[in-house]
Amino acid sequence: MDALEIIGWLWDYGLVIPMINFLVLIAALAFGSFGIAIIIFTLLMRAITWPLTRQQLRAAKAMQAVQPRIVEIQKKYKDPKRRSEETMKLYREAGFNPAGCIWPMLVQMPILFALYQAIRFTLGETPEALLDLSQRLYPVPFLRTAVPLENHFLWMDLGQPDSTLIMAVLVGASTFVQQRMTTPTSANADPQQQSVNQTMMWMMPLMFAFFTLQFPSGLALYWTATNVVGIAMQYFYQGPSNFSWRKIVSIGPLTAPTPAARSPQEEPLKVESAEEIEAGDATDEAPQEGQRKRRRRRGRRRR
């Protein structure tokens, strides 16, 4: 076996085939409904990837906390190289990895591709696909007798692209909201950079919405469900008071508020790491106590 064959074997036997059997198992337990199986699968995947998601949320929180300091750096250093060095130093102190927001996406990608293949095999839209499925089910009678599965869910044929635009809209909208919630506010007042960020913010949802029109709607169902769960996770993790839904769904760029001017005698802003921020929030016995602590911190900074 050469390297490519080995990779292919690992992909099939390590990911796709177990996923196929798992989906068939869940569907069989869910009265043969593949749509319900996809939703349950989504919930399980989000539960398994929760540590990664939590890390991302903590990083986002840390990023938010250091925004005022970033603005100071932007104003203080004119040399782009020095500015970049100081910014990266600040990130390190805060325990924030700028590429951290990418990892959840990179983890989701192989799952998405494997799920796409699993859907193609499992729903057996063509007779050849059903034949292929027969060779990918584990020799467990319960699994072998569970197919063919019910491929209709709500208005969709899960093995075919959604002929309405409903899933495309749901995928695009949920991707947009999820992205807005996880992207930290930009402290960079540079209009060109903001334009780039805005483009990124719109491109991903539109791209995924477009893909929805090409691929089985089962995949779109998974992506929408995973976004919705992610949105709910973040909402409850960061606390309802930290969100402005109006800002999330607005079209304009997300920008940090301009920090109040400080006199040269003021102490530099204290950089709290993600763990410190989380620990600080966690030890608050009541929201009022947390608010009092934050007021005390601000007071110390002003002196």
Binding site: M88, R120, T126, P127, E128, L131, P139, P141, M200
Partner: protein, 371 residues
């Protein structure tokens, strides 16, 4: 945004686009078809392959016609899965785009003004009896259409899942199976249900009726071959395999032979299901094509293109080595007569028509079907 995160974001987006584009090249599986050849009493060999059906003279193997042959009107003909039926000089061709065509056997021209449009893709074959063509669709419906006019004879009979098998008419009964797991027996004149028998999983294999023993044999996705008594509608015996039964069982004398997707050929007595071999015959991979008996030898072809000759009495290989074809076989083989000798003909998944000597398991001739 600093340069490093920007590059990472662009790299991620680029990988995403590349990967999805690569997936998009084969975004949804294209149906290819695996309809089986048919030999007519008029000496015509009909060979479906891909989106076309080819007609050859049995004696000379000269091409006669091809449908749809680039005809713009029929450009939507897609993938032939169901075995065509021939009756009264008319060829009935079911297609994956959901239409039943009636063609003149002499020249392949359509007989009906318009093809009959069913509710979904047609995967099973056609049965013709008493001037009526019967066939099932992927919407779970069984249709009865007048062979001459193409008009529907009775309202479609609906099952709960796809009808992917070829119906069978024996006497006054119409037998059809469905992926909802049931065998249905109807009145072919009215479409009224007479009785049904349920297996534990979907059924894609056509039933085989043994009038001598009064049994009907049904291979199912529950990994069993069921022997059902026609009079009592009760299961009499089952033969267990390790994967689905999909192909039509072969009934020869008092025995029934059934191939499974576990790659084995099973043999049982039709009366009580008792195994007549010490163990099933093992092919190399799954067997979708039906077994065929020619000259005292059972021939099976597996999905990898290995063709085996099996002794029906013992289940042992009759030839030291199987014949390896260039591509796999999913369509049922047929027997035809050339020069007074029997010849085994089968078509591979890549559209190569092979003629094989059943005495020596050697290829006599092969024809590359184009399109």
């Amino acid at each position: 945004m600093s340069r490093r995160p920007r590059y990472l974001v662009l790299l991620t987006l680029g990988l995403l686009v590349l990967a999805v584009a690569a997936s998009g090249c084969a975004s949804l599986a294209k149906p290819k078809g695996f309809a089986s050849p048919v030999v007519t009493d008029e000496g015509v060999l009909l060979v479906p392959s891909g989106d076309d059906i080819y007609a050859y003279d049995v004696d000379t193997l000269g091409p006669l016609w091809r449908f749809p042959s680039g005809d713009i009107k029929h450009k939507d003909v897609v993938a032939l899965y169901g075995t065509p039926a021939v009756a009264g000089g008319t060829v009935f061709v079911p297609t994956y785009d959901g239409k039943l065509y009636a063609l003149d056997l002499k020249d392949g021209t359509p007989i009906w003004p318009e093809a009959f449009k069913a509710g979904g893709p047609l995967v099973g074959g056609v049965a013709v009896a008493n001037g009526t063509a019967f066939f099932g669709s992927s919407e779970g419906d069984l249709y009865a259409v007048d062979a001459e006019s193409g008009e529907q004879v009775w309202p479609k009979f609906t099952t709960d899942k796809e009808v992917w098998s070829t119906p069978v008419v024996i006497g006054a009964d119409l037998y059809v199976t469905s992926l909802d797991g049931s065998l249905y027996v109807l009145d072919p004149a009215t479409g009224q249900l007479r009785w049904s028998y349920d297996t534990d999983a979907g059924v894609a294999a056509p039933p085989v009726v043994d009038t001598a023993t009064g049994r009907v044999f049904v291979g199912s996705f529950d990994q069993k071959l069921h022997g059902v008594d026609i009079a009592s509608h009760q299961e009499v015996w089952t033969v267990k395999a390790d994967n689905w039964f999909w192909s039509r069982p072969l009934l020869e004398g008092a025995n029934v032979y059934a191939a499974s997707l576990d790659g084995r050929l099973y043999a049982a007595a039709a009366s009580d299901g008792a195994s007549i071999w010490s163990k099933p015959f093992e092919a190399k991979t799954e067997i979708k094509a039906s077994p065929i008996l020619i000259g005292g030898t059972i021939f099976v072809a597996d999905r990898d293109g290995f063709v085996f000759g099996v002794d029906p009495a013992t289940g042992q290989a009759k030839f030291p080595e199987p014949l390896k074809l260039a591509n796999g076989v999913l369509a049922d083989p047929v027997e035809l007569e050339q020069g007074g000798s029997a010849v085994l003909a089968l078509v591979t998944t890549r559209g190569t028509l092979y003629f094989i000597d059943p005495q020596t398991l050697q290829v006599l001739r092969q024809i590359e079907l184009s399109g």
